[in-house]
């Protein structure tokens, strides 16, 4: 601070170039002043106290959107004062939701973990000793080295929550040569992925909302959907220009209330609703025939589904109308509860805006229901019929709008198949069957030598958390559990090592997401490290981010580098070479070298842009935080392919150019197993002939949009090869609605929180700390549930007790509570995190009980705000009472619950949870029996063209 002036409003025009408010305000400091920016101190105002900042960009680590942030580092105090948006970021464009600026809370949280901890006493006992990082790295490195030497590769598992980074750690595991990646995908997005992938090969939608004329959301995108902030910006932009917004949600979300049509369909009937719209488009003749003719595999559809018809395009309409005969608006009204007239109106709106239909489903109905993957499949059917695929205002595939550069370090081939993550029962799962891990351990399918949970909290987040606790408490199942986490979590309580990792402004990562029609790459960086560098401290190959972070908080990149080095100190395991610096041989590659090489060599246009700015590519990214990768976003599948480049290919009868040595020509022969190399996406066929032109096409086996999925048919699900409605496990007609049975929606997010990652933010938890059960007043009357009354929700495994919140904003027959709250801690002073209530856990055989010991209280800490905590509610942990319910095709946890809703009983208290894990096993076995296991064609474990983290060799796909 300097230049304290007593006067207020001097009107001193010389102070800034543009001081007059009437001359127009700007939203961000001009980029050329980021290294030396002066603002006035907000607290001292109206005295003019100058604060001198360096503005250092980074990337938010809270939700998956990876929005840009700018850290304001005070040059006088050397502290981050605030986080604002990064105007240079192509997706978030300088704007943020509440969670971005709240990064400051996470940095300064008085209860964050600052030093490596090792368990003393029993696992889960809550006693820890502080150790050195050296000890942690040595001990863990030695374990992994031994496991590799003994070829127990499958016993090393890295289990990641939302990665928030692209590819770094996957390459580390490849460097170790293990198939040890496990993800959170099947509690999140498996169903959506398989729905999209079964059409276009890409497993995520990339919607061009900004230019759309009709926006169809099976999500609550204006407040909480996937990529909420970048998407909400563009949805509202389109709505301002006149777009019609349609939202399907049993709950009146913020999005529902902003939409032109809110359709509270019965949960699980969404595909029916969508197919009714499909039928109306066909009936109305408002579908893009030429697009469908050119770009769908209609020939296969007709040949496979209608052998009675000739394979002629003119007959497709008739075949489709026959297939979807039962999906009339009237029938849809009965099944979904949405009025037929409204469906007709919506169909006419959709039909009137060809090629400008943008849609999205990620979780919501997709994540809730058995067969929920058909939601995305049927939704995208509307994109296909309206020709809105990859168009201006349509929906594209993520692969076209996401940029993932190659790593500057090599990797080993992975030559084996980890059945703990990729069990044969789920050959089509997207991706690992992570929710079943405790059951696999219980069945002794294998054990884990070293299990990393990385910013992942399965005990709390996954269904059936008590089965996780049982597994984690058993050292014969999990020999060593290492939790990599910035803060305490319910899972970290059951770890052997708790290793503190940085939050959004304390780590390096790359991120790129398909937020809009465009490609970008975002760079997360430890801002204090960058600040030190800018202030003149030399950063060399031996520098480590933890030197600049609070306490001994590390960043994961350097952790993996140094750990890998200790796994293979002499290089004899073949690991070390994949981590070695090229400019300093004999040393691990530094983050500067790693990202410097990527930016300089692997990102199109970046080196040129940096040169124009007279910077190295790394400096350029450190100064801007994001880069718009030049691209032509629209109609990528229409790109013409040079005939010369497909000369070595075989053109099949459907016009697909199939390349020798790829999955496209895999025939199951021994040579094919030995010699086929697999593409990350698709079967490796480079092109398809359309109307005599050679085009890039889609990364599907047919290179077209697959109206008929041969893969689904060939792998045991022929009845689901075309877009279909699969009645959900919570289908309303199966419920005793006259009695006390209802559907529970336990999944929805709110804008201010993000799973368990936002717990350590005081601002966010002050705003939201309660999640009562939404119940329609009609239901409440029928079920004798008064305002705010305690309700017992009985699931298959047990029950929980929650407060009722009567609202017309939910469909009768459905009750709902946001999943965000219900965090707990077992110790008094550990992991209060502004949100976690003290809990007692009792265990007797397979019976587990969790009860609340009061709620959130004020307490003294370094932060005076902890004594100002005025709220006490911390919510109810619902997920503990949910059985694993993996969809037999996608592996998705089908989150919606069939529950009994009754007034609380004598002795019930708010927040009580009771579960019998014996019933968990029963449920697991019952859902397992719905599967149709591998092998598929050619004795494979999984279709070769399906995406998969750490794709192994073709040989590993062989199920012997």
């Amino acid at each position: 601070m300097s230049d304290t002036s007593e006067s207020r409003y001097l009107g001193d025009d010389s102070f800034y170039k543009n001081p007059s408010p009437n001359a127009g305000l700007t939203n961000y400091p001009p980029h050329d002043q980021w290294h030396n920016w002066t603002e006035l101190d907000a607290k001292a105002w109206p005295q003019r106290v100058e604060r001198h900042y360096r503005l250092i960009p980074t990337t938010c680590f809270n939700c998956e959107a990876a929005c840009g942030l700018v850290a304001y580092v005070d040059r006088d105090t050397g502290e981050v004062t605030k986080f604002e948006g990064n105007p240079e970021h192509p997706a978030s464009r300088g704007r943020n939701c509440a969670k971005g600026p709240a990064t400051l809370n996470q940095v300064n949280d008085s209860e964050r973990i600052l030093f490596p901890l090792k368990r003393i006493g029993e696992r889960g006992g809550g006693d820890w000793e502080q150790i050195t990082w050296d000890q942690a790295l040595d001990e863990i490195g030695a374990r992994i080295r031994t496991a590799l030497l003994e070829d127990r590769r499958d016993e090393i598992m890295y289990h990641v929550g939302r990665p928030g980074e692209d590819g770094y750690t996957e390459r580390v595991l490849q460097g170790w040569g293990i198939d040890g990646h496990n993800s959170h995908t099947n509690i999140c997005s498996s169903n959506a992925r398989i729905g999209y992938q079964s059409w276009m090969g890409h497993d995520r939608p990339s919607s061009d909302y900004a230019n759309a004329e009709v926006i169809f959301l099976i999500s609550s995108h204006l407040e909480a959907g996937h990529y909420f902030n970048p998407h909400a910006q563009r949805i509202i932009e389109a709505q301002e220009k006149g777009a019609t917004v349609i939202c399907v949600d049993p709950r009146l979300s913020n999005t529902g209330s902003k939409a032109d049509h809110w359709l509270p369909a019965w949960p699980g009937t969404e595909p029916f609703l969508l197919l009714a719209l499909v039928r109306l488009l066909l009936e109305n003749g408002t579908w893009e025939r030429d697009f469908v003719r050119r770009w769908t595999n209609w020939e296969t559809y007709l040949a496979k589904t209608r052998p009675d018809l000739e394979v002629k395009f003119e007959l497709l309409e008739r075949a489709l109308l026959d297939e979807y005969e039962q999906y009339t608006p009237e029938r849809a009204e009965y099944v979904t509860g949405v009025p037929a007239e409204q469906l007709r109106e919506i169909a006419s709106v959709i039909g009137a805006h060809p090629t400008k239909f943008a849609s999205h489903n990620w979780r919501a109905a997709g994540a809730g229901n058995l067969g929920g993957w058909q939601t995305a499949r049927c939704l995208f059917f509307l994109n296909v019929l309206t020709g809105s695929v990859g168009t201006i205002g349509g929906t594209s595939g993520n692969g076209w709008n996401k940029f993932k550069p190659n790593a500057p370090l090599g990797a080993q081939k992975i030559e084996h198949w980890n059945e703990m993550s990729w069990p044969r029962e789920y050959p089509l799962s997207y991706h690992e069957m992570s929710i079943l891990l405790p059951h696999f351990l219980n069945e002794r399918r294998g054990k884990l030598d070293t299990y990393f949970t990385r910013v992942y909290n399965p005990v709390w987040t996954n269904p059936d958390g008590f089965s996780w606790i049982e597994a984690l408490l058993d050292p014969s199942k999990v020999e060593c559990h290492v939790a990599l986490t910035p803060t305490w979590s319910e899972t970290a309580l059951f770890a052997d090592y708790v290793l503190p990792m940085g939050v959004g402004s304390e780590r390096h990562d790359l991120a790129s997401f398909e937020t809009h029609a465009g490609r970008w790459i975002g760079f997360r960086q430890p801002v204090m490290r960058r600040f030190a560098e800018l202030e003149g401290k030399s950063i060399d190959n031996d520098s480590r981010t933890h030197e600049f972070n609070p306490g001994e908080v590390w960043e994961e990149n350097e952790f993996w580098m140094d750990l890998s080095w200790r796994i293979d100190p002499d290089g004899t395991l073949g690991v070390r070479e994949h981590f070695e610096s090229r400019s300093n041989p004999g040393k691990p590659m530094s983050v500067d070298e790693y990202y410097g090489r990527i930016f300089a060599e692997e990102v199109p246009g970046l080196a040129e842009a940096a040169a124009a700015a007279n910077q190295t590519a790394l400096e350029f990214m450190r100064d801007r935080g994001a880069f718009a990768v030049p691209t032509d976003s629209y109609l990528p599948y229409e790109r013409v392919v040079d005939p010369a480049s497909v000369e070595d290919c075989v053109r099949d009868n459907d016009g697909v150019f199939r390349k020798p040595g790829t999955a496209g020509l895999f025939d199951g022969s021994e040579e094919a197993f030995a010699e086929t190399s697999l593409s990350p996406l698709g079967d490796g066929s480079p092109a398809v002939e359309i109307d005599g032109e050679i085009k890039e096409g889609f990364p599907t086996p047919s290179k077209k949009l697959e109206l008929y999925s041969t893969t689904l048919a060939d792998w045991g699900w022929p009845e689901y090869a075309t877009p279909t409605w699969i009645p959900s496990h919570v289908h309303w007609e199966d419920l005793d609605l006259d009695g006390d049975e209802r559907i529970l929606l336990p999944t929805f997010r709110i804008p201010t929180l993000i799973h368990t990652r936002s717990a350590n933010s005081k601002w966010l938890n002050e705003i939201s700390h309660r999640h009562p059960l939404w119940i329609h007043p009609e239901d409440a009357e029928k079920l004798n549930i008064g305002e705010n009354q305690l309700v017992r929700i009985t699931t298959r495994l047990g029950h929980f007790v929650i407060q009722a919140w009567r609202t017309e904003g939910i469909r009768p027959g459905v009750v709902a509570a946001s999943h965000h709250m219900g965090r707990w801690r077992t110790g008094q002073d550990q992991g209060r995190s502004w949100s976690n209530g003290r809990a007692d856990i009792q265990n007797d055989g397979t019976t587990w009980e969790l009860s609340r010991r009061g709620g959130m209280d004020a307490y003294p800490s370094d932060d005076p705000d902890s004594e100002r905590i005025w709220w006490s509610d911390t919510g109810v942990h619902q997920n503990l009472t949910f059985a694993v319910q993996p969809d037999p095709v996608s592996g998705m946890q089908c989150w919606h619950q069939r529950v009994r809703v009754t007034p609380a009983e004598d002795g019930d208290s708010y927040g009580d949870v009771l579960v019998d894990t014996a019933k968990s096993r029963e449920a697991y076995l019952e859902w397992l029996s719905k599967t149709r296991p591998a092998p598929g064609p050619h004795g494979l474990r999984r279709p070769l063209w399906y995406a998969r983290p750490l794709k192994p060799t073709a040989e590993a796909y062989r199920l012997s």
Partner: protein
């Protein structure tokens, strides 16, 4: 800004109402004056803060933080001096709503596409099952859920702490006593008792000074920044009735000093000269709070024209009560006259209460009155009416009838009137602040 005694709250040259932590004394007057409940006490500084449009950013050419961060650009800056300003264009094309236009603040925060329910806090209530994402505390004011005019429910709101509580109610009573006792003292001088310098001069003068001192202590103690009390004098904003009140109390204190001095030197002449001025100053002391409360634009109950006469008759009743209590102890002149006057003052108070309760009200005042008579302040209000008015009137009537018990009955009546008065004042102070403004 009128109410702010130190101009800590001020209108900046660019039109924004801004604040200065360094001169705020934490009197919370602004919190009652703001018809939008937009001002709060910052617990770090114990001073009043509000949205100041990020004036420290505007000063350097930056938009306010909320504008910058908003994902959907839903918050826009209107610049009335820039014909090309986008938001100004919207404002000119469309009819946009504002909140509480009837308060005459000419608000410049406009709402586009907002439902009436979200702008009128009197027509939406927190229901029994609480807020959707947060706890409800007693600091979350809300209309009663049986209110007839409700059209929506409040699903989320922030806490608004009641700012003026027992100390303010107590100040009203001690000030009424300090003023009222001197009304009777002056009256006694005019009735020819000036020569009783001890009982007409010293006793009431001392009591008046004592209660004035307590009044001052309560006022200072209620400040969130009590050590900055002197700023009221050194940086006083003369349009603030807090400042004017301080001057009045000061002058009154000087006049009481003169009165006491006159009593000590046993000068009946000086008392005679001072009687009328002291009575006038006592009336100012009793009544100025009506103008102070009148500056509390956020509290419509307190805007009532009944408040000034009410404060005056309450002062008389309080003074009479203390006079009669003193009578038991030291034997004061003319107790019967005082009884009659006190009965009159209490009766007048009762009539004013009836007028207050049964008068024509705006919805805001009606809600505040309901809070007093039937709502959360019901018990205090009833204690005030029964113990503070009806019981003392009956007891004083009894004292006029039964000579032998007159002093005892008067004593009890006086005590009851004072306790009841505090109870009524407290219900009035709290009820006035019970109406949600946002």
């Amino acid at each position: 800004m009128d109410i702010c005694p130190t101009s800590a709250l001020f209108r900046a040259p660019n039109g924004v109402v801004d604040f200065d932590d360094n001169s705020c004394i934490g009197c919370k007057g602004c919190m009652n004056a703001c018809p939008y409940d937009a001002i709060y006490i910052n617990p770090e500084t114990n001073t009043a803060n509000k949205c100041n449009f990020c004036n420290h950013r505007v000063e350097v050419g930056l938009e306010p933080s909320c504008v910058v961060v908003c994902p959907t650009h839903s918050i826009k800056v209107v610049d009335f001096d820039d014909a090309d300003n986008e938001a100004l264009g919207i404002l000119r094309r469309e009819h946009l709503a504002v909140r509480s236009p009837e308060q005459g603040t000419a608000p410049k925060v406009y709402y586009r596409g907002a439902d009436e329910a979200s702008l009128d806090p009197l027509r939406t209530a927190i229901r029994g099952d609480g807020l959707i994402w947060a706890d409800v505390t007693p600091d979350h004011p809300t209309p009663p859920t049986d209110e007839a005019d409700l059209i929506a429910r409040t699903t989320y709101t922030t806490a608004h702490i009641t700012t003026w509580k027992a100390k303010v109610s107590g100040y009203l009573v001690t000030k009424a006593i300090a003023a009222g006792i001197m009304f009777f003292a002056s009256l006694m001088v005019l009735l020819g008792h000036a020569d009783q310098t001890a009982k007409v001069g010293f006793v009431p003068g001392l009591l008046g000074a004592l209660f004035l001192l307590v009044t001052g202590i309560l006022l200072v103690a209620d400040l969130k920044k009590p050590t900055r009390f002197h700023l009221v004098l050194t940086r006083g904003n003369t349009s603030s009735w807090l400042v004017r009140g301080a001057y009045i109390l000061g002058i009154y204190a000087v006049s009481l000093g003169g009165w006491l001095l006159a009593a000590l030197i046993e000068s009946s002449q000086i008392l005679s000269v001072l009687a009328v001025p002291v009575a006038v100053l006592a009336a100012c002391t009793a009544g100025y709070t009506a103008f102070l409360f009148g500056q509390c634009e956020g509290r419509d109950l307190w805007q009532s024209r009944i408040l000034l006469p009410m404060l005056l008759v309450q002062a008389v009743a309080a003074g009479g009560s203390v006079w009669l209590i003193s009578d038991v102890l030291v034997g004061m002149p003319e107790p019967t006259v005082v009884r009659w006057i006190t009965i009159g003052a209490l009766t007048a108070s009762g009539i004013l209460v009836l007028l207050e309760v049964f008068g024509d009200h705006s919805p805001h005042v009606a809600m505040a009155v309901r809070s007093m008579t039937r709502g959360d302040q019901r018990k205090l209000f009833l204690t005030g009416v029964l113990g503070g008015l009806i019981l003392p009137i009956i007891l004083l009537a009894g004292s006029l009838l039964f000579d032998s018990a007159a002093t005892t009955l008067s004593f009890v009546a006086g005590a009851s009137a004072l306790v009841g008065m505090w109870s009524y004042e407290h219900s009035y102070v709290l009820a006035g602040q019970s109406v949600p403004l946002s």
